[in-house]
């Protein structure tokens, strides 16, 4: 039927194997053959991600709390987003997603979050800078430290869980001025001036602990951990780390303005209990499976061999779609499932269009080979046009959804767009190859039995 059928089947087999490999693993990697330390050449985390509506959790929409006609710069929002992300990650809630939504909003999603108050509190507080004594331990930059300072309490606290807790010497309250400068080696650094209280504490600590590490920690995250080279008694100091001029500036801004560059207020909160989420997920899976079985039966009974190839091709479509979702990290939500349903519908529709053509051509007396060629050729314009229209709608809706924090619309349009593209590959390429293979094997002569005319 098709001249290059073997090559086509090999390609489909390869794509399917890759897809199934991604589908069945949580973490895919290719070992590097030139290094024997086991470091991978390629590694992606492909854990399936479920939206809040399917596993429960907290969603917050934050808005810049300043007058509507005052413009907020992109950098300020980006800085605020980073800070919110760092703070909430420090709480130990995993897999948070913090994203900008339009010009003045930030969406935060916290799957499985139970203590929603703690999260809301920490988001709205101003940034906390600490100078922490880590003794002889040099904490790596970017790591998270547990400290004994608790906002609002004057006595140091020691948690009971046995984790190492470091002593906070002083906090950002004692900072009087912050400036970006350049060191003698040409690297950016941050100069700071302390008030008299801070100067006294700092002088005392540095003279007693020369040669030890002093970590500078913002929102529990280590910015740099220099060695105390000599006692600093003048109330002035300098932080150097792996700074670029931009990061040095951003940090200076955070230190100066109490971290958040713009005040944020909560304009929307959604909490979905874990039972509701689990219930919705289970029902979607059951509905999907039962629906698929009915569709498969109908397709095979009505279209026979072509129907069988369509069912196989829809299965391949599902495997590829799921793999693509996992690879690019799509969070699956109920509206997302609606998008998948619509794109599955359009994959089926493309198959049905082609098979109706096939029957039509056969009825008008063409040979099987001619009808097979004509079916795809003739059905193509309508499949192309209807899918392009669907893609246009999806793109516009995605733009609308992402500029507004309307995550429902965003999830729907994104899965729809990806689904439509993969459905084209499935109905045009995979179905065609499978059907050619089936025709080659069966060599149908009785069209009533094999094609359902």
């Amino acid at each position: 039927m098709l001249r290059n059928l073997t090559n086509r089947l090999l390609l489909i087999g390869l794509v399917l194997m890759l897809a199934i490999w991604v589908d069945t693993n949580e973490n895919v990697q290719i070992p590097n053959p030139f290094k024997d330390d086991g470091s991978p050449l390629f590694q992606v985390d492909v854990k399936p991600r479920l939206g809040l509506d399917l596993q429960g959790g907290l969603q917050v929409l934050l808005e810049a709390d300043i007058a509507n006609d005052v413009k907020v710069s992109r950098e300020e929002m980006e800085t605020a987003r980073n800070i919110v992300e760092n703070r909430t990650n420090a709480l130990g809630v995993s897999e948070n997603v913090i994203q900008l939504a339009g010009e003045r909003r930030i969406v935060g999603e916290f799957p499985g979050a139970e203590d929603t108050d703690a999260i809301l509190d920490i988001i709205q507080q101003t940034g906390l800078l600490e100078f922490v004594d880590t003794g002889t331990y040099a904490p790596p930059e970017g790591s998270t430290l547990q400290t004994d300072f608790v906002p609002g309490s004057s006595t140091p606290q020691t948690p009971a869980d046995g984790a190492t807790v470091f002593h906070t010497i002083m906090t950002g309250k004692v900072l009087q001025g912050v400036n970006v400068s350049v060191t003698q080696t040409g690297e950016p650094a941050i100069d700071f001036v302390l008030n008299s209280e801070g100067a006294a504490i700092f002088g005392e600590h540095t003279s007693a602990n020369t040669g030890k590490y002093l970590a500078i920690v913002l929102d529990k995250q280590v910015i740099s951990a220099p060695i105390i080279e000599s006692a600093i008694t003048g109330g002035q100091g300098s932080i150097s780390g792996n700074f670029t001029p931009e990061t040095a500036n951003a940090l200076a801004v955070q230190l100066r303005y109490g971290s958040l560059p713009i005040p944020l207020k909560v304009v929307e909160t959604r909490i979905i209990g874990p039972t509701l989420g689990e219930d919705s997920l289970q029902k979607s899976i059951v509905a999907g499976l039962v629906g698929f079985v009915i569709v498969a039966l109908f397709m095979i009974l009505y279209y026979r061999l072509p129907g069988l190839s369509a069912v196989l091709s829809i299965l391949a479509y599902a495997a590829i779609l799921y793999a693509v979702f996992k690879l690019i990290g799509v969070t699956l939500t109920l509206p997302g499932i609606a998008g998948i349903m619509l794109s599955t519908g359009s994959a089926l529709d493309a198959n049905i269009l082609i098979f109706e053509r096939l029957k039509e051509e056969l009825r008008s007396g063409r040979s099987l080979r001619q009808a097979f060629d004509q079916a795809w050729k003739r059905a193509w314009p309508s499949i192309r046009d209807s899918n392009v229209a669907a893609l246009i709608t999806a793109v516009i809706l995605f733009w609308f959804g992402s500029s507004f924090g309307a995550t429902i619309v965003k999830g729907f349009s994104f899965t729809l767009a990806i689904g439509v593209i993969i459905s084209l590959f499935s109905s045009l390429y995979i179905t065609q190859s499978f059907l050619a293979l089936l025709f080659n094997i069966v060599k149908p002569t009785n069209y009533e039995r094999s094609i359902g005319i």
Partner: protein
């Protein structure tokens, strides 16, 4: 099969569903959910107590929250709608509820500020309008070889408007009978139907385009009718597939909110197929014949 000959009966059938629905919508209004008008929704389940809705309202009243409404769900939880609550207010209410009725579980809690809802509505409408315009342009471009290419795009949009009107009408009936409201899931259903409606109409139009180059002598009406009949089997089969999918979802999904979602989707998708055959294509013929010139001359029509 002469489908086009009955076009005015078909138009009348659609209007019979749409007009009463729209009258309800404009006179009585369809309640908007908090997604659009702002406010808060708290769904809780009590471990032991089964308080009367009035008792819950008392707790809200004493916490100083106005206009609260309580609804019970079939799973035994309580859905309480009220004005927008800050987190402090929510905590106060939850503590008061726990004090009075014992341990509870939050099934879900939504709180939306009033400004958000307004913007979502206006931007959502804008997004639908922009995508419709782009689709008209795309169809006109894709049908550029055919006479009056723009008509196809506009007829596709008219069919889409028909489906949107059907959805609003059905939701209006639903709001009257089952207390449905327009929420974010309604928006998702609406978008799905719009996408599906476009696809369906384009498939029918594509057949007209193809037949135009095959049967050059045939008059337009016969040609369109022939194209509809040719694509009918595909329309029915595709419809069976998607509708089956959704009917199942409808039966299996228990909750009231999802039932509303699935029902709207089901009717919307049926309408999408219906309108591509019985609305979009007939309007194309009506336009070609310039039939509105005869509408007010009944005698000429008889001849």
């Amino acid at each position: 099969m002469n489908i086009l000959g009955k076009r005015y009966i078909l138009f009348g059938f659609s209007l019979l569903i749409i007009i009463p629905g729209l009258i309800i919508m404009f006179t009585r209004g369809i309640p908007l959910s908090i997604d659009f008008k702002g406010g808060s929704l708290l769904e809780v389940k009590f471990d032991a107590a089964q308080p009367a809705p009035g008792e819950i309202l008392e707790v809200y009243d004493s916490s100083g929250i106005k206009d609260a409404q309580v609804q019970t769900s079939d799973t035994g939880s309580f859905i309480i709608r009220s004005e927008f609550m800050q987190n402090e207010t929510r905590d106060a209410v939850l503590t008061a509820l726990t004090d009075k009725f014992g341990k509870l579980e939050i099934v879900r809690f939504d709180s939306v500020g009033p400004s958000i809802g307004e913007q979502v509505t206006s931007r959502g409408t804008l997004a639908v309008i922009v995508s419709s315009l782009l689709v008209v342009l795309f169809i006109a471009w894709s049908f550029r070889g055919v006479q009056n290419a723009f008509r196809y795009g506009i007829c596709a949009i008219l069919a889409m408007i028909h489906d949107v009107a059907i959805i609003f009408a059905i939701t209006a009936y639903g709001s009257l009978l089952f207390g449905w409201e327009i929420d974010a899931l309604f928006l998702t259903a609406l978008l799905t139907v719009i996408g599906f409606s476009m696809q369906d109409t384009i498939v029918v139009f594509d057949r007209i385009r193809e037949n135009m180059s095959i049967y050059r002598r045939l008059d337009f009406e016969t040609l369109v009718n022939h194209s509809i009949v040719q694509t009918l089997q595909r329309s029915i089969n595709t419809q069976l597939m998607t509708v089956e999918f959704l009917l199942l979802a409808l039966i299996l999904f228990g909750g009231a909110t999802l039932q509303e979602f699935a029902s709207i989707l089901l009717i919307g998708l049926m309408s999408g197929t219906y309108s591509s055959i019985f609305i979009a294509a007939p309007i194309l013929v009506l336009w070609e014949n310039r039939e509105w010139e005869k509408w007010f001359k009944p005698k000429a029509l008889a001849g």
